[in-house]
Symmetry: D3
Subunit: 267 residues, 6 copies
């Protein structure tokens, strides 16, 4: 694991995203590291609970757009269908990585401060418990690069969310929402003063670590049997086999980087 740091403290395993200079943006390496982390943690002796945090001022700035262009470089001889198959494999791989937290067999608590954008939300929706600090800011950012959130957010937060109106507004606009709205949305269950976030999540972790491991294992084994989740993720990946091949993405990314206004052609 190059981008994650793991430390065992008593029966608590502390996992940290460690790309503070890049605001913990998600690189291809980070996806691989999350998959690796599952095996490491499940095989570490006597872990009872996992705490996930991000080093630096921000939890996670979403996908590392610097790596995006490579995703779309294909040998010239590939026709569209063959390119789409490669994109499908990539999405499935990333979806699997973003489901890592639910494959860890003990409860996973996340503490969020600063920005939690795009892929950052995909990631935390697969955790068990989410607390954030007062200054946290969230965005289902994918629309701003011309796509839909395809590695977990729409499939978890969207499917089970009671306020579909609020959820869809956030997905369609990509606007920033703060800690209180995250609470209303059910994305976090507690908003904590910034300097107390660490204390609160570790205190919670200790409480859970003191409970019966068999009881906790059983609860997790039941609550992570989400309704048709695999099917929802697969349908998303199939849809994006075609939808990611749009000039809107380049247009949107350029506008975002130059702070200009994007002009998109009609459908």
């Amino acid at each position: 694991m190059q981008t994650l740091v793991g430390t065992k403290k008593g029966q608590i395993y502390h996992l940290e995203i460690n790309r503070p200079k890049q605001l913990n943006a998600m690189s291809g390496q980070l996806f691989q590291d999350f998959k690796a982390a599952v095996d490491i943690i499940n095989q570490t002796d006597d872990v009872r609970v996992v705490v996930l945090t991000g080093r630096g001022k921000h939890f996670c700035a979403g996908l590392d757009l610097k790596e995006a262009p490579q995703m779309f470089q294909f040998p010239d001889e590939l026709d569209q269908a063959r390119r789409s198959i490669r994109i499908y494999d990539l999405i499935k791989d990333w979806q699997f990585a973003m489901t890592s937290l639910s494959r860890i067999r003990v409860p996973v608590i996340v503490g969020i401060q600063g920005y939690c954008l795009g892929g950052g939300i995909d990631l935390i929706t697969s955790a068990d418990i989410r607390y954030c600090s007062e200054d946290a800011n969230f965005s289902i950012k994918e629309i701003d690069i011309g796509m839909a959130a395809d590695i977990g957010t729409l499939q978890r937060l969207g499917v089970q969310n009671a306020n579909t109106s609020l959820f869809r507004e956030l997905a369609y606009t990509g606007r920033i929402f703060n800690a209180q709205e995250a609470l209303q949305l059910g994305l976090v269950s507690k908003v904590v003063k910034s300097d107390q976030l660490n204390d609160e999540i570790f205190k919670l972790a200790e409480t859970i670590a003191s409970k019966s491991p068999v009881g906790c294992y059983t609860i997790k084994s039941i609550v992570t049997r989400e309704q048709n989740l695999d099917s929802h993720l697969d349908v998303m990946a199939r849809t994006n086999m075609a939808m990611l091949f749009t000039n809107d993405m380049a247009t949107a990314i350029t506008a975002s980087m130059t702070k200009g206004k994007a002009e998109f052609p009609k459908l």
Copy 2:
């Protein structure tokens, strides 16, 4: 379209229910017009978002009860099963009409003021985003005419609602609930001062219109794949093949019109 007015303003399509004297109550014509609106909008050049509002002081007073008696007039020679088949076809047709907003391929925003009763709620649950003014008043009114909400409310708002206790209370009692409770229920995502409702929803519409159409299309194509919705609607229609043939309906409607108290026989 006789009961709906459509206007294209830039890339925003404004759809208005236009029966203000009848408090925008739903007539058979209105159902047909909603179905027609889907095709019109999907074929209009370069629509990016739809805004739905109701003309006059109220958004929608629900089914137009004046038309109800005709629904239950059958040729004498039809036995009960044959009458039920006709009612089934009618319910399916109305359910299809009330799903119109989700078949429009761009996001649909609804702004609600005044009363939004019965069928009005069925209608808006198939929109993407719902804002209301402070003075809005809602009621899952169907119980007051002796029936269950069979064209969307129970099947959408009921299935995904996290506070089943609140939802069922509203469905069993038909009581009026205000904007704040609608927010708590997840029926709307924002309550706005009455004189600002129009501004707010058009501002939101403009934001969405500025986003990638491919991105928005993809989000909508995923979020409208609601869990087993067709099956839920169909089971409801089959149940009401029998349940609508009750004297309770006449009793309830009469009491409602005469402001008297209804006396229903036991089951």
Copy 3:
């Protein structure tokens, strides 16, 4: 029915848990009585609504742990698989008992005061409408006896809950949560001053009793078709065929009774 008292008041059927000295804890008899109550109520003439309350200061303290040891006494000659089959049968029987309120064909309102712990929550999640008094205190207590809530709570409240983070925190920690959090969680829809709880729920019951019985029957027949509930309950029972055979349970119960700290071996 030895542990339940039923009284018909007009068209309202008042069902009371009547083990106040045991804080209305659930004994084997209570499970059987709930199953019996369904038939009694469904066959009582002209019942339009049911109100369920608990006598004494507390609504229900959860499973009566005094009876737990007997559950795990088996003839010596039974191997593990054969013991697990007996436990499976027991869990299925209890699950069926805890689903009683949804089999009553009229709406069921519950009023909760004081403690509502463990099995008490399983029970009320199968009711239609839940009000509590300001002093109510809840706990998904099962983790504190080393197990998962296997007779309804995880399968109803967990599956449909929009704030999965809050729900899981409560399930993993077993901590007490108060009336306001119960409201946020969607477990109750109204918090009432303690001395008004009775008035409120009976007033609500009267409202519902005045509505069309056919309408109410239809609503209940639709809203209780919960998504794959039977399958979720069955998977839980199969999982606990093995998981209940853990020393953690004895360790946890002993610690709980002696107010000591439980030490559990690792997985």
Copy 4:
């Protein structure tokens, strides 16, 4: 049990339908007896397998039409919806009775000779293994009394059948089909000479009785988790709440009894 005879022979429980004069036609009593048989057998010491046969020349002639008229006698004051609720309860009760064989926790083998009509097919589809004699004759007879097979045949044999064309032909025409077609349809797995049927099924029963009871229990517990069976049965019952109220039924039954030709009005 008045209409069923049960005998334990070693570890084999032999259950016989005992209304030979009525060609083992299904009376209301027979439905109740099948429900009772489940508890009796599951509680009988050391039963390893069940064999079900019919006394006399025929396995089962289907519903006892003599009892049908009573089903449709209602107090005059009941409106249609209230009558439909009673019919729904009746269908659900009969469906539950016809699922009895799958609730017996050991494998159930059926041997069929002579006629197996209508409800007889509903019944045997819930068994594990079905053999018939060469002279067996089957019919999905319900269409000949103006209705659809609503207590198991359409929901089990129809859902899993690979030759939908053959299945639907049999359901729409109600024509007699013989042992070979039953084999092709997958309704039976072996056709046996008439005088060997008894020997064959008891030989098979002995083989199964000699196997591990835990192994057999586990297989049955898995293979009887049929895909959405409860939901299919429920939708059927809701549909027939209305569809059984047709004059076609009287017309068809009269024609059938008088060997006349039925004339039905159009839909």
Copy 5:
């Protein structure tokens, strides 16, 4: 209807595909005509059963490849995602057309002679009963134009087929299979001498027409609730949004027309 001929004979509606010179190949017009036929038949007075046949020596030669190139002509300015959206709409429209037979509310019998290829199989899988003559020849032909059967065959015949090995062999190879194999596959339920096909299907039609219309309606309303069919069709359409954009299609079609051997690049 330009490509279909409809004739009412007593209570039987005879629908004929009428493009004998094109071997009844499916043109865009034919798809539209099937959709129209549903409304015409459902509104024709007193139709009790439908018989579908193809005029000429062959039942249906599959998609009319002459029209295929137009499908893939798009305005130059459309990027890949926008082209895929158009293809998705086209597939959904054709899927809807190919589901027409199941939307007709009375039973539909198909008689097949000569070739029944590609789209011809998609079509008949949505009928109720299928008979063929001894000389009938079938092929799941789509693989020979470089694609998967996306308008019904994989989704109906594939999902419910008991011999997955046979089904997949036929789908992967596109080889011709004869009447006996069609019977084994469950695609037809009866093989008839060529000169008797017409007699047999009309005799069957008369039998069904003599049955209770309410009974037949109820059976059809239940057996056409196929497990997740809409979802399967939708997933197929989403997959082919990308997969139809392959040079393999042109390569395969050219090879097929020139009787040459196709050389496809690797994935």
Copy 6:
């Protein structure tokens, strides 16, 4: 891969089980090798189809019982729940291995000769096409070691099989069935003379290899989306967490090895 041999012949990948002295029985190593084979094949350049055969006279004798005892050796300090968790992990791992053939992205053809027992059937049910020689013999053997087939057979062949009676007879009795019955059961699609099996499957492989890779990929991507397969496999694994802890297994295995008669205690 120690127990599998892979050879690329043109565009056909030939995979052989290579434990002929052990009749190709499945060892723990074999499970790991199947998982490895998926990656190897999917990454080998230009594979269009896979052929799987077993070296020696028999295709596969099922689980290698010599390894079974180790599975059930646990550290003494583990209580039953903790042992069950380990068994659950093992079953899931084996299920995943037995699903390997469906994860290979090109069609997989299996040729079966001699014995194909127990786990051998689990394995081939995840292939696309299955041919066998005339002398092939099959058995769903698991019942003879006191358990249910938990790594694919019940979940694939059982769920989709039209002749449930035949399938269950084979599962409950474990009796040998020959090539013709395998054909009737839908387990194979063709029975071939023994000396022609190899020719036939490679001829079939060549045909498939000549087809469009995009077409074949799309078909496989659709037909392997089996209805709730993951859920069925998971429920099986949870059930066997308890059921594998039975003395029946030792009793059955001993009897099987000593050719004695097993005596099992009652449930």
